[in-house]
Amino acid sequence: MTETKTTIAMPGGLPGEFVENTRAGRSLTGEAATLLLRSPMVWVALAVLLMLVVMAVAPSLFTSLDPRQCQLLNARKPPSYGHWFGFDIQGCDVFARTIYGARASLVVALLATIGSTFIGGAVGLLAGFYGGVTDSVVSRITDVVLGLPTLLGAIVILATLGSGDGSSIIRLALVLSVLGWATESRLMRASVLQTKQAEYVRAARIAGAGDLWIAVRHILPNSVTPLLVMATLSLGGYVGAEATLSYLGLGLQAPIISWGTAISDAQPYLASAPHMLLFPSLLLTVTVLTLVLFGEAVRRAFDPRSR
């Protein structure tokens, strides 16, 4: 399961890196946004993202074909006029399925990112803010979660949730968040530890503010930036994780169409019918690439030294 985990964690890099680079104050956010929009790379990334979002919302704008209309006799036919990406193993149009697959793949990634950021952020805040025993307990739990095989976790969680209709996107997102928050939590903890030392936090404490008030009002806003940057980066990782889980037989279920299922279905035919694998992979790669580039740009914008 290392693969999934590393893919998820990889774009994020290291907690230390962010914390050091983003001694974020709120004034910085506006500044960063301005800086961000100055880069041409960001505009390209935004354009691609916009296209992907449109694709996810209204796939029928891109193709008039029905992705669920499959004739076995067409199976594995190479690209041709009218069927630009050819046909897959079931004789479905690869182009249509790739377009329609965007929605599930992106929604899973988005929900998983929100979920893991939320859990990781809360846990990290708790550990960093209280320190001591709480910190030790939380850190060790984090270790355990990082050591758990994703496959086991995924099977158990998927099974516990049951196979209700139509909710397999949410279930998969839940699996990815429950198993993926540990990295986020470490990052948040490190960030909180640093913010805690700031003058204004001490001032607030002297002024008699309560724990909850300090944590939510002062520490959270000032330490959340690295987490948000990380979230942008991990979006791409989760798109890839969906594919890996499909490869292991735990991915999204029919009738949902996704890039992950398309890629894992086509993988055995790598040598004999590569076009079935190529096109969904290509779109997946472009998406991840765009998301990571965008995340990288966001990170740079927040990095005071890169100005």
């Binding site: 290392t2 893919t7 050591g147 496959l151 099974a159 791409g236 490869y247 292991l248 694998l277």
Partner: protein
């Protein structure tokens, strides 16, 4: 420092117990009858079911079985799996290949990652830096199983440069291609990290001092900048070894490496709870130890860090 290490080691005990507890319940909490599907296409006869139920105490409450498990564990017995083999024996058979693969992958990863990172840091934004960034992103963006299968097909089957698969324990030579595949993806982050860290160090005061003192650039980068950039690198590498010890499921599968990842997947698929608990627990302990080693390495690399 000694006090700190001791404290961390004492923390191992509750974590160890907690892990076995959680994994025990996860593993045995999987839906379905673990004995279903044990007899091929046939249904298992009653005598078989009754005997297995008795042997593995499947009819007792989970908490009672956990009690038995821990009691055995305290005597160093990891239990016996559904396959009739001792879990410890299975782990000892699976670990060598996994450890070798992990060490080899990390070695390659560090070699490539740190080298590229330094070269990129020398001229940030230059052609090499940009090319490396883009190439790295493409590698990350491709699903790992596709890269592994492609590498096997091209370099193993078609070109014949590497062994196609790995048999039983696996020699370093056989593990080279899978290790490269793993290292390829992991070095991307590592080289980015090294790059950032080296750039940071190069901008710091003491390097400037060294420069004004007329030290050669190669010496500055090689000794001063690198040493101070090592902390994030060590953290990442530590985490990576931990992850690789947990088994690289996909790469192990593609290259037929009989390692720990495959063992865990097979046990999960066959609902072999005892093996799952044993294997995962060993992995979590490995994680803990490696995290501890990483923390100790911090203190060694940066004398400013104190734990006491």
């Amino acid at each position: 420092m000694t006090g700190y290490i001791l404290r961390r080691l004492i923390q191992f005990i509750p974590v160890f117990l907690g892990t076995t507890f959680v994994v025990f319940f996860l593993a045995w909490g999987m839906p379905g009858d673990p004995l279903a599907g044990k007899c091929g296409d046939r249904e298992c006869p009653e005598a078989f079911v009754a005997q297995a139920t008795e042997e593995f105490k499947l009819d007792r409450p989970l908490i009672v079985r956990y009690g038995y498990y821990v009691a055995d564990l305290m005597q160093g017995d990891l239990g016996k799996s559904f396959t009739g083999r001792n879990v410890s024996e299975q782990l000892l058979a699976a670990f060598p290949a996994t450890i070798r693969l992990a060490l080899l992958a990390v070695a390659i990863e560090v070699l490539i990652g740190v080298t590229i990172g330094i070269l990129a840091a020398l001229r940030p934004g230059g052609a090499f830096d940009t090319a490396n960034l883009l190439l790295g992103l493409v590698i990350i963006a491709f699903p790992g199983f596709v890269i592994a299968n492609l590498a096997q097909l091209i370099f193993g089957v078609r070109l014949g440069w590497f062994p196609v698969t790995v048999s039983d324990a696996g020699s370093y030579y056989q593990l080279l291609l899978p290790a490269v595949v793993l290292a390829l993806a992991h070095q991307v982050t590592l080289s980015r990290l090294t790059r950032t860290a080296v750039i940071d160090s190069l901008h710091s005061d003491y390097i400037r001092t060294a420069q004004t003192k007329g030290l050669r650039m190669s010496r500055i980068v090689g000794i001063h900048a690198l040493r101070n950039s090592l902390i994030p690198v060590v953290t990442y590498v530590g985490k990576d070894i931990g992850g690789l010890l947990a088994g690289a499921v996909v790469v192990e599968g593609v290259f037929n490496i009989r390692g720990i990842g495959g063992l865990i997947v097979r046990s999960i698929r066959s609902h072999d709870g005892i093996t799952i608990v044993g294997a995962v627990t060993v992995i979590v302990v490995a994680y803990l130890i490696i995290n501890l080693l990483v923390d100790i390495a911090y203190a060694v690399l940066d004398p400013r860090i104190r734990y006491d």
